[in-house]
């Protein structure tokens, strides 16, 4: 492990933490434009975070320590996740320590703490949100894993960087298996990050809300951390998508300064495109009823499994 | 000498108690005589183990490991039952279910019954064995009707007629045997019914006649063993007679009858060079196991329940004898032993339970473990033992029997498996609420004298964990005699 690998590692994490709000801002901007609204500033998310951090924190009486720990844990896991996902380079020191399965486990841990925290105060909304979140989770997680497994079957490894290496080396064109799993992945991404059509982050309508319901009891810095974590999560998912399906530009093999010089702009461009794409999808689709969500995710899961089967069938 | 004692003591006891059986101390006398018989039996056993087979009383009596072990078992259970019946029958007397006169009858007949069974076991003469078996029926039939209730009379009548008719068939079989033997052994007719001689020449006996003879003997003695479909008398007689009698009927009489069947099987197999005898035994055994386990399912009377379980276990033993071979025979003998010990102990506890709750209807017996812990645990452990749960000895024999069956008669194993499962469900689902559960009755002040129960269970437990070598050799020798 040379110094530059470490630099890349740190850079990735820092970049993720720094850029996540911006990405959300960009997404909202695109949405606004697509809906002919005046777009909010790209920096709005940063201002929100700043404002929240300066506020005085209020915690419900019935809250246990778990409630206060949760935001830090959630945020921390998301940051760590950002370190695992090869968004710029693939020769990362953390490669060995956690592979894709561990990554999914990490997301699961974040979700678990979030839901437990939501149930901690014991309000109607919190528990309701927790239930819905888990309902999303227990279908989204397997789907995500299956998506990853298709790639790892191709590259015979579950370590994301290795997968990216393998795919980026362009030895294969788009495999049919991957095509299926790409569709599945997009569905999972929407669901996991509380985007339309699964959830609408912009409203507090109790009939539909999931993520908002869980963080309803949070305020100030705790809320800020939760929001930031959410933004990070979105960012991470997009990066996973890149790693699996659009690995181009990522500095593979031994990383030189040149590699980074290519990788960073490439990432920026990909992010911009992805944001626009997501905005488009969200604009085109309508929010669905909560009980339809499982079917939505079931489809995703099915697609993923299909992808795997197709790969086993044709891939050899 | 020992043999003389063994046979004289019960007769003497019968005579004595026939005169003085109504006195206060009659139960003790009864127990004392049984104890003496047991000691004689032990002495006999020791002698046989030391010096091998015995041939006594101008060949009329023949003792080999096979029957000497049954003799000891019979004498032992006879003794423990006498001990048990001492307080039990007194209580019955106090409850006014009996009169001193009937008690006298009970005691003398009890001794007579012991005598007939010991005679049937020890005699070398097939004819004499028949006489003794008939005698066993006659001596017990009046004990079954001891309470003079309509049900007991009915039971007694059925017992008498069915077993009488059966035994008549057995006599015919014996005659056929005699005919066939006479051909070989010469017609002076003295030796032609002696088992030893028959055994010596069995290979020369005429097959067809022996096959017929075996059928008659099987139907005859099989009736007393309680093989389905000849079993109909058994549950009634067990359920309606006084408990000690149920215990000895189920624990001893069935064994002795099975002994007779096996003795004849040995002869016939020697002559008939076909599978017929073993096939018949296996068939009867399986049918008995299956039907009995099914009928267990419907029982409401506690003693009836265990009567059917006796049929089931006799079926298992018969099946094992039918399979033949050293291991199966060994297992069958072991099964006879543990069954008679376990079953008699179960009847003891069941009797106490019925006595304390004043009913034999199982759905009216509840929470024995609170009423009287010893009775409760006795019944629970006894039932578990009889159901073949280790570490009790019944498991040992069933282990050997089933594993043998798996290799030699695999077709039978599914049937056995199903039957055993059904029997387990049937018995345990009825015993559990009787032992456990709520009860209205108060805890009884005095604990019942259950020494015999726990003595039996202890032996059964021992046999499950460790079979003493000499006992094992003994069984092996017996198994060998039966034709391992």
């Amino acid at each position: 492990m040379s110094a530059i690998d470490w630099i890349t590692q740190v850079l990735e994490v820092v970049a993720a933490v720094a850029a996540a709000p911006a990405f959300l801002g960009w997404l909202n901007q695109c949405r606004a434009w697509l809906q002919n609204r005046r777009a909010p500033s790209l920096w709005l998310p940063y201002r929100n975070l700043r404002k929240l951090f300066h506020k005085e924190a209020v915690i419900a009486e019935g809250a246990s320590p778990l409630f206060r720990i949760a935001p830090y844990v959630v945020f921390g896991t998301m940051v760590l996740a950002a370190g695992i996902i090869p968004s710029m380079g693939t020769r990362l020191p953390l490669v060995g320590s956690a592979d894709a399965i561990a990554l999914v486990g990490l997301f699961a841990a974040a979700r678990m703490f979030m839901t437990l925290a939501a149930m901690d105060v014991g309000t109607a909304f919190g528990t309701l949100g927790a239930r819905r979140e888990m309902m999303v989770g227990f279908l989204a997680e397997p789907a995500l894993l299956m998506v990853i497994f298709v790639a790892s079957q191709i590259s015979s490894s579950t370590a994301l960087p290795v997968i990216t290496d393998h795919l980026a080396s362009g030895r294969l064109g788009l495999s049919p298996g991957l095509a299926f799993s790409a569709v599945a992945f997009i569905l999972v991404l929407l669901a996991e990050n509380a985007r339309i059509p699964v959830d609408n982050p912009a409203t507090h309508l109790e009939l539909t809300m999931i993520h908002e319901a869980m963080v309803l009891e949070y305020s100030a810095r705790h809320l800020a951390l939760m929001e930031w974590a959410a933004q990070l999560k979105l960012f991470n998912y997009v990066c996973i998508g890149f790693a699996l399906f659009l690995p181009w530009g990522v500095a593979t093999g031994h990383i030189g300064p040149m590699g980074l010089a290519v990788a960073i702009p490439a990432l920026a461009i990909k992010l911009a495109v992805a944001g626009a794409g997501l905005a488009l999808i969200e604009t085109l689709s309508a929010k669905m009823r909560v009980m339809r969500i499982p079917e939505f995710l079931g489809t995703a899961f099915l697609f993923a499994v299909l992808g795997l089967l197709v790969h086993v069938l044709l891939g050899t | 000498m020992e043999l003389l004692l063994l046979l004289i003591l019960p007769v003497g006891g019968a005579a004595w108690l026939g005169i003085a059986g109504a006195q206060r101390r009659a139960p003790e006398v009864n127990a004392a005589f049984s104890l003496g018989t047991f000691l004689a039996a032990c002495a006999l056993a020791v002698r046989v183990i030391r010096h091998g087979d015995l041939l006594l009383g101008e060949e009329q009596f023949f003792i080999d490991p096979f029957n000497v072990f049954l003799v000891t078992l019979t004498a032992f259970v006879g003794m423990t039952t006498a001990l048990f019946s001492r307080p039990y029958m007194r209580t019955e007397l106090d409850h006014g279910r009996l009169t001193p006169g009937r008690l006298r009858l009970y005691h003398s007949m009890y001794q007579l019954f012991m005598f007939t069974m010991l005679l049937a076991l020890t005699t070398n003469n097939m004819g004499l064995m028949w006489v003794a078996m008939e005698g066993a029926t006659l001596s017990t039939v009046l004990l079954v009707t001891l309470y003079r209730t309509p049900a007991s009379l009915e039971a007694g009548w059925k017992y008498f007629i069915l077993c009488g008719v059966g035994i008549a068939q057995a006599l015919f079989g014996t005659i056929l045997l005699y005919v066939a033997a006479e051909k070989v052994l010469g017609s002076q007719g003295v030796t032609a019914l002696l088992w030893t001689h028959l055994d010596a020449v069995k290979s020369q006996l005429e097959p067809t006649v022996l096959a017929l003879a075996f059928v008659f003997l099987l139907v005859g003695y099989g009736t007393k063993v309680g093989l389905v479909p000849l079993h109909s008398w058994l549950p009634d007689a067990h359920a309606e007679g006084p408990t000690p009698i149920s215990a000895v009927l189920s624990g001893l009489l069935l064994n002795v009858a099975l002994y007779a069947v096996v003795r004849s099987k040995v002869l016939v197999e020697g002559s008939v060079h076909s599978q017929l005898p073993s096939r018949l035994l296996m068939g009867f055994g399986l049918v008995s196991v299956v039907v009995a386990s099914l009928l267990l399912w419907r029982q409401r009377d506690i003693k009836r329940l265990f009567a059917y379980s006796s049929i089931e276990h006799m079926g298992i033993a018969t099946f094992a004898f039918g399979m033949g071979g050293p291991i199966a025979n060994f297992a069958a003998l072991l099964h006879m032993t543990v069954h008679s010990l376990t079953k008699s102990s179960i009847f003891f506890t069941a009797g106490h339970a019925a006595q304390k709750t004043g009913t034999q209807a199982m759905d009216r017996i509840r929470g024995l473990i609170t009423l009287s812990p010893t009775v409760g645990w006795g019944l629970m452990l006894g039932s578990l033992a009889i159901l073949g749960v280790p570490p009790f000895g019944v498991f040992t024999s069933e282990f050997l029997i089933l594993t043998t069956a798996m290799r030699t008669q695999p077709w039978a194993t599914p049937i056995l498996l199903a039957a055993l499962a059904v029997a387990f469900a049937a018995i345990f689902s009825k015993v559990q609420p009787m032992v456990f559960g709520e009860t209205t009755g108060r805890r009884l002040p005095h604990a019942p004298a259950l020494l015999p129960v726990f003595a039996h269970l202890a032996i059964v437990l021992l046999l499950g964990l460790y079979i003493p070598p000499y006992l094992a050799d003994w069984y092996r020798a017996a198994a060998h005699l039966i034709g391992g």
């Binding site: - | 059925k158 009488g164 008719v165 005659i175 005699y178 005919v179 006479e182 051909k183 017609s187 067809t208």
Partner: protein, 222 residues
Amino acid sequence: MSPLPLGQQLLDTCAALLLLLSFAMLSQRRVVALVNLYALQGAVLAAATLLLAWRTGEDHLYVSAALTLVLKVALLPWLLHRLIRRLQVYRDTEPLLNVSGTMLVGLVIVVFAFSLAQPITRLASTATRSAIGIALAVVLLAFLMMITRRKAMSQVVGFLSMENGVLFGAMSASYGMPMVVELGIALDVLVAVLVLGVFFFQIRERFDSLDLHHLESLKEHE
């Protein structure tokens, strides 16, 4: 072929008589007559035994003949008659299977018994081997009679005549059993009848009738 010697013919006649008597018992409905028939059967048996004793010169056969005479002609019938008088049971009710039917079945059974007896006959060395089939038939017919009767008394008579059949079989197949066994059997039969006597009184005092349908309460099927 030479005609059979006289004794042989007499013996065969006895055998035939026995079979005839069994059929008569099978059809007979009046208990008293039944007992008489039983006594008669005993008499024929005794006669046959005597004949055999005389022809073979086996002295233990004399004893058993005497035994039969005393027991089955005199003692048991007398006991039974006393019982009948004391218990006032004269007629059996309609048998479960009507007479003609019973007869038919009996016929089939006789045929079966004869075919069954073939191997034994071939084996037996006695002058009377031909009678074995008859003995077997008598046993089975008695069995049939016990099945078809409804009164305890007639069932008992059937039981006893079965005993007769068996003894006749023993005699015709091998000139009787060893003495000790014969004695034992006789003893058992005697005791059996005594026990039965006791029984009848017990049943009577409970049900004041000897009809067997009183004795059908213990069963599995409701």
